[in-house]
C-alpha cells in the first residue's frame, strides 16, 4: 500500500484518513468497544461522525466542471501531442515568413522567383542537420518552396479556424432554436438543414466560391454556411433532452424567461458537444479547402494554399516528389493533430466513468 503511506492528502478519500490524535474520536475502527470506554466521549458528535454526507473541506482546491475537463484534457497524451504539433506548425508558419503586419525571420518571399539551383532539390538534411539555402527546394520558376508552403499553411489554418467558428455559430443557433421551441420553428429549421445536407457539398462550394471571386474570406464564408448541419442536429438533440431535465423545469417554475433558460441553463450544458464538434469541423474544413483548391476553385495564384500547391505540381510527382511531399505533410500534420485534440476533448468531456461507489 505505497499510496496510503506516502500519498498526499489530496489524493486520498475522506474515509482513509486516520482521525486526528487527541480529538476524542481517534478510534481506529468503528467497531465498538475497541476504544477505552473511560476516554472522553463526545455524544453530540455521533451524528456528524456517522453522517454519510460529505464533510465539506474548504482547504482543498475546488474544481468546477470546466476545470475537471481541462484537467482530464491535459492528461490525455494524444491530445497533448496534437496540441503541441498544431501550435508548432502555427508558430512556424506565421513567424517564418510573417504577414503583412510584421516581417518574419525567413528572408525569401513566396512571390519572387530566382535561379533554380541544383534542379530545385531541397537543401534540408538531417545528418548533419543543416537548413541550407532552400530547405524545401524550389519550384519550376525558382520560387522558394519553403516560403510557399508556409504561406499555404497560413491560408489553410485561417480558413480552417474561421470555418470552425462560423459554422459553430450557425449550427448552435439553429440547433438551439429548433430544440427549444419545437413545433413550427423546429419543422422549418430542420427541413432547411436537410436541404443543405442533400446538396452535393463540393459542387455547391465550387460554384459559390467562384462567384465570390475565390478569395480566402469568400471560401471561408462558403464553407461555413455549408458544414454547420451536423452540429445543428447534434445540438438540437442535446437541447431536446436537456429541456426535459428537472433543473430546466425548476427554472421555468420560478418564472425564468426563455432566452435566459437557453443561454444560462441549456447551452452551457452542451458546451462539450459544441467544442468537440467544432474541433472536428476544423479538420474537415482543412481537407475541404484543400480539395477545392486542388480542383482549381479555391485560392488562386499568385497566392498559395496547400491544396493549390499539390494541384499545381501534381505532374511533377515523378521527377520532383518534394513539391508534393511538403504540402502533403503539412496537411497531414494539421488534420491529424486537430483530430487528436478533438478526441482528447471528447474523452475529457465524456469520460467513461467507472463505478467507484455503490
Amino acid at each position: 500500500m505505497a499510496d496510503t503511506s506516502s500519498g498526499s492528502a489530496g489524493d486520498r478519500p475522506e474515509q482513509d484518513r486516520p482521525d486526528a490524535p487527541g480529538s476524542g474520536r481517534e478510534e481506529l475502527s468503528p467497531v465498538t468497544g475497541q476504544a477505552d470506554p473511560e476516554a472522553p466521549h463526545d455524544e453530540a458528535d455521533v451524528e456528524s461522525k456517522y453522517s454519510v454526507e460529505k464533510q465539506l473541506d474548504f482547504t482543498q482546491k475546488s474544481y468546477s466542471q470546466n476545470q475537471l475537463v481541462l484537467r482530464r484534457f491535459f492528461r490525455h497524451k494524444g491530445a497533448m501531442i496534437g496540441l503541441v504539433t498544431l501550435l508548432g506548425v502555427t508558430i512556424l508558419a506565421y513567424s517564418s515568413i510573417g504577414t503583412a503586419a510584421f516581417p518574419g525571420w525567413w528572408d525569401k518571399s513566396y512571390r519572387s522567383s530566382a535561379m533554380v539551383v541544383d534542379g530545385g532539390r531541397p537543401t534540408l538534411s538531417l545528418f548533419p542537420p543543416t537548413w541550407g539555402e532552400y530547405p524545401f527546394g524550389q519550384e519550376t520558376t525558382g520560387k522558394d518552396y519553403f516560403a510557399l508552403t508556409m504561406r499555404g499553411t497560413q491560408q489553410s489554418l485561417l480558413v480552417a479556424f474561421s470555418v470552425g467558428i462560423g459554422s459553430t455559430i450557425i449550427g448552435v443557433t439553429v440547433g438551439a432554436l429548433a430544440g427549444f421551441y419545437r413545433g413550427r420553428v423546429e419543422a422549418v429549421l430542420m427541413r432547411a438543414t436537410d436541404l443543405f445536407i442533400v446538396i452535393p457539398l463540393l459542387v455547391l462550394a465550387a460554384t459559390m466560391s467562384k462567384g465570390l471571386g475565390g478569395g480566402i474570406w469568400g471560401i471561408s464564408f462558403v464553407l461555413s454556411i455549408l458544414v454547420w448541419t451536423g452540429l445543428a442536429r447534434l445540438v438540437r438533440g442535446e437541447v431536446l433532452s436537456l429541456r426535459e431535465r428537472e433543473f430546466v423545469t425548476a427554472a421555468e417554475a420560478i418564472g425564468t424567461p426563455s432566452s435566459r433558460i437557453i443561454f444560462k441553463h441549456i447551452l452551457p450544458n452542451t458546451i462539450g458537444t459544441i467544442i468537440v464538434s467544432a474541433t472536428l469541423t476544423i479538420a474537415v474544413a482543412i481537407l475541404l479547402e484543400t480539395a477545392l483548391s486542388f480542383l482549381g476553385f479555391g485560392i488562386q495564384p499568385p497566392d498559395s494554399s496547400l491544396g493549390q500547391l499539390i494541384s499545381t505540381y501534381q505532374t511533377a510527382f515523378q521527377t520532383r516528389p518534394w513539391l508534393f511531399w511538403w504540402p502533403g505533410i503539412m496537411i497531414l500534420a494539421i488534420a491529424l493533430s486537430v483530430n487528436f485534440i478533438g478526441d482528447g476533448l471528447r474523452d475529457a468531456f465524456d469520460p467513461r466513468q467507472s463505478r467507484s461507489e455503490d
Partner: protein, 598 residues
C-alpha cells in the same frame, strides 16, 4: 406464535437432512477502486455467511459498500476494482476459478434480483425468451421443454395467464409483474443462493409487500439462501433472519434481526434506526415538531374544484391523469398528497406551478384564477410560489455555482442589487445549515442531502406564500432525510408558508402534514385531517396502503403482516406466494439436468 414455532422447526428438519454449511460466505473481503483521484477503499474487510433458507440483510446508506460486497460474489465488478479476501459460493472460491467456470456458476448456483425490473429486462426480447435463455445456457431445458418450463415458472411467481404473458414484452407488464419475471428468471436454474439488490425500492408500497411475501415463500419452500441488500429498515424487519449493518465499507454490527433492530449496540445503528420515521408514531419523532395550531379562517392558498388534467396522445383519446379532484390548502397549512405511482399526485403539483394546463375545472392559486392568467401575470404569481423537486442532483444546474443557483429567483424577478442578493443567499445558507463557503462551489461537490438543502434554500429565496414539494426526500438516505425534514419543519414554523407536500411515504406525511389527501388513479379516495385519514381510514384503498407500509421492528411487523393478510382475505384477495411443491420443483430440476448429462 404457534405458527412461527412450527415453521422454524419444519425448516430445521429439512435443513438438518442436508447440511448447515453456508451457501455463500465472505471472508475478509476487501475492495479498492482505482480512480482518477487516487484509490477508493470501498469495502474494508467484511466477513459474512448466508446459510440455506436464511435471509441475511445487508443494510447501510449510500457509499456503505453493500452493493459492491455482493457483486464480489457474482464477480461482476468493473475492471478497476482490486479484490482481496475469499468469497465462497456453494463451496467454490469464486476468486480462483476460470471465467468459463464462473459463467457456469452464475445463474446455476448464484442468481441475482435487481433493483429496477424495467432495466433488468431487455425491452426488445419477449418475456418467454428471456426466461428460457438461462435455462438453455445452463442445459436445464431446451426448446419446447424450456418453453413449457417458462410458463410453469411464471405461474409459480403468480402471474396470471402465463401462456399469453410469455409472448409479451416487458413494457406490457406492470412494475410488480416485471419484478416477478425477474424473480422467475432468478429461480429458473434452482440456485442455492440469491442476491436481491434493493428488490423493492423501485416499487409501490402495496406491490412491495406482495413481492416480499413472494420472496419469503421462496426461501421457505425452496430452501434458498437470500442475501438481501436494502436501505429500508421496514423491509429488513419484514424479511431478514439476520442483519449486517455496513457503514463506509465496514461491517459495524451483525446479529439477528430482532436483536439488531430492537436493541442496537453500535452508535451508527442506533442513529440509523433513530432516523427512520415510524408510521403511527405521529408527531415528535427525531425532534421534528410542526406547528399544530392552525387558523381555520385563513385564506385559501390552493382551491381546487373538479380539476381535470389530461395528457394528449397521438391517435388515441387523451389520457386523464387527474379526474375530478377537489380539495384546498389554507395559508400556513401543510397538506400531504399521497398515492402510488400513476395516481396523479405529481401532476397536480406541476399544474400548481403552471407547468401543465388543466383541461377543465377550477384552480384558484393564492386567490388568482390560474387557468385564465396571462403570461406576465403568471410570472408575477410564480414569484409567490416556491418549489422543491425530488432529485436534487437533477434539479440543480450542474454548471452553475451553488450561490448563483440560490440567487436565480432574485435575478429573474429583479429583486435587489448584487450585494443584497448575495446577503440573502448567505442568510438562506445559514437557515439550511450549510457553511457560507459553498457559495462558489458547484452542485457536484456536495452530497445528496446537502444538495436538497440547497434546493430548499432556493425555494425559499423569495419568501413564498406557497411551497410545492414533490417527493423532496425520497431520493435521500434516511439519516439525511431526517435532517432535511427537520430543517424543513423549522423553516415552515418560521416562514409559515402553505405547503403542498407530495409523497408516497406515509410515515413522512404522518410526521409533517396537517391534512392528508389520498389519491388513486387520478381520483381522490379519501381526505381529511391527518389523524382521521391515517389513524382511522374509512376506504379500502387507504387501508391497503397503510397495511402495506412496513415498520422497523420484526415483532411488530409480523403482527402487521398477519393483519394485512387478514385484511386481504376479507377483501377477497390472495396472499402472494410461490405456487409450487418444493420437492417436485427440485426433482424436476434434478431430472432435467440428469437427462442433459445422459
Amino acid at each position: 406464535m404457534a405458527t412461527a414455532m412450527s415453521e422454524s422447526s419444519g425448516r430445521e428438519e429439512r435443513s438438518g437432512g442436508t447440511d448447515d454449511t453456508a451457501v455463500l460466505s465472505f471472508e475478509e473481503v476487501d475492495v479498492r477502486f482505482k480512480t482518477e483521484f487516487g484509490s477508493v477503499h470501498a469495502v474494508k474487510g467484511v466477513s459474512l455467511d448466508v446459510k440455506p433458507g436464511e435471509v441475511v440483510a445487508v443494510v447501510g446508506e449510500s457509499g456503505s459498500g453493500k452493493s459492491v460486497t455482493s457483486m464480489t460474489a457474482m464477480r461482476l465488478l468493473p475492471g478497476n476494482a482490486r479484490i482481496e479476501g475469499h468469497v465462497t459460493v456453494t463451496g467454490t472460491s469464486v476468486g480462483e476459478i476460470a471465467e468459463r467456470k464462473m459463467r457456469k456458476m452464475r445463474g446455476n448456483n448464484i442468481a441475482m434480483i435487481f433493483q429496477e425490473p424495467m432495466t433488468a429486462l431487455n425491452p426488445v426480447l419477449t418475456i418467454g425468451s428471456q426466461l428460457t435463455e438461462s435455462m438453455e445456457l445452463h442445459g436445464i431445458a431446451v426448446g419446447k421443454d424450456a418453453d413449457k418450463r417458462a410458463v410453469e415458472l411464471l405461474e409459480m411467481v403468480g402471474i396470471p395467464e402465463p401462456e399469453r404473458r410469455v409472448k409479451q414484452y416487458p413494457h406490457e407488464l406492470s412494475g410488480g409483474q416485471r419484478q416477478r419475471v425477474v424473480i422467475a428468471i432468478a429461480i429458473s436454474c434452482d440456485p442455492k443462493v440469491i442476491i436481491a439488490d434493493e428488490p423493492t425500492t423501485a416499487l409501490d408500497v402495496t406491490v412491495q409487500a406482495d413481492i416480499l411475501d413472494l420472496l419469503r415463500s421462496l426461501k421457505d419452500k425452496l430452501d434458498t439462501g437470500i442475501l438481501l441488500i436494502t436501505h429500508n429498515m421496514g423491509v429488513v424487519a419484514d424479511m431478514a433472519d439476520r442483519v449486517a449493518v455496513m457503514f463506509k465499507g465496514e461491517l459495524v454490527e451483525q446479529g439477528t434481526a430482532q436483536s439488531v433492530l430492537t436493541d442496537p449496540q453500535h452508535d451508527y445503528t442506533k442513529m440509523l434506526l433513530g432516523s427512520v420515521p415510524r408510521l403511527g408514531s405521529g408527531r415528535g419523532q427525531m425532534g421534528i415538531s410542526v406547528r399544530e395550531e392552525l387558523d381555520e379562517s385563513a385564506d385559501l392558498a390552493i382551491d381546487l374544484k373538479n380539476l381535470v388534467i389530461e395528457y394528449q396522445r397521438l391517435g388515441k383519446s387523451p389520457f386523464r391523469a387527474v379526474d375530478d379532484v377537489t380539495f384546498n390548502v389554507r395559508q400556513g397549512e401543510i397538506v400531504g398528497l399521497v398515492g402510488e405511482s400513476g395516481s396523479g399526485k405529481s401532476t397536480i403539483g406541476r399544474c400548481a406551478l403552471g407547468l401543465i394546463p388543466a383541461a377543465s375545472g377550477e384552480f384558484r392559486l393564492l386567490g388568482e384564477d390560474l387557468l385564465s392568467l396571462k403570461k406576465a401575470e403568471l410570472k408575477a404569481l410564480r414569484k409567490r410560489i416556491g418549489v422543491i423537486f425530488q432529485d436534487p442532483a437533477a434539479s440543480l444546474n450542474p454548471r452553475m455555482p451553488i450561490g448563483e443557483c440560490i440567487a436565480e429567483p432574485l435575478v429573474v424577478h429583479k429583486v435587489g442589487d448584487k450585494a443584497s442578493q448575495t446577503n440573502k443567499v448567505y442568510e438562506l445558507l445559514d437557515a439550511v445549515q450549510l457553511p457560507r463557503e459553498v457559495y462558489n462551489r458547484y452542485p457536484h461537490e456536495v452530497s445528496g442531502g446537502q444538495r436538497q438543502r440547497i434546493s430548499v434554500a432556493r425555494a425559499l429565496t423569495l419568501d413564498p406564500e406557497l411551497l410545492v414539494a414533490d417527493e423532496p426526500t425520497s431520493a435521500l438516505d434516511v439519516s439525511v432525510q431526517a435532517r432535511v425534514l427537520k430543517i424543513f419543519s423549522e423553516l415552515q414554523a418560521e416562514y409559515k408558508f402553505a405547503c403542498l407536500f407530495v409523497s408516497h411515504d406515509l410515515s413522512v406525511i404522518d410526521l409533517l402534514a396537517h391534512k392528508v389527501v389520498v389519491l388513486q388513479d387520478g381520483k381522490v379516495v379519501e381526505h381529511g385531517s391527518r389523524t382521521e385519514v391515517l389513524g382511522d381510514p374509512q376506504k379500502e384503498y387507504t387501508k391497503r396502503l397503510i397495511a402495506a407500509a412496513p415498520v422497523p421492528d420484526p415483532r411488530e411487523q409480523r403482527k402487521r403482516r398477519e393483519e394485512r393478510h387478514e385484511l386481504l382475505r376479507s377483501l377477497g384477495d390472495d396472499i402472494t406466494e410461490l405456487k409450487i411443491d418444493a420437492d417436485q420443483f427440485h426433482r424436476a430440476h434434478a431430472m432435467s439436468t440428469d437427462n442433459d448429462r445422459a
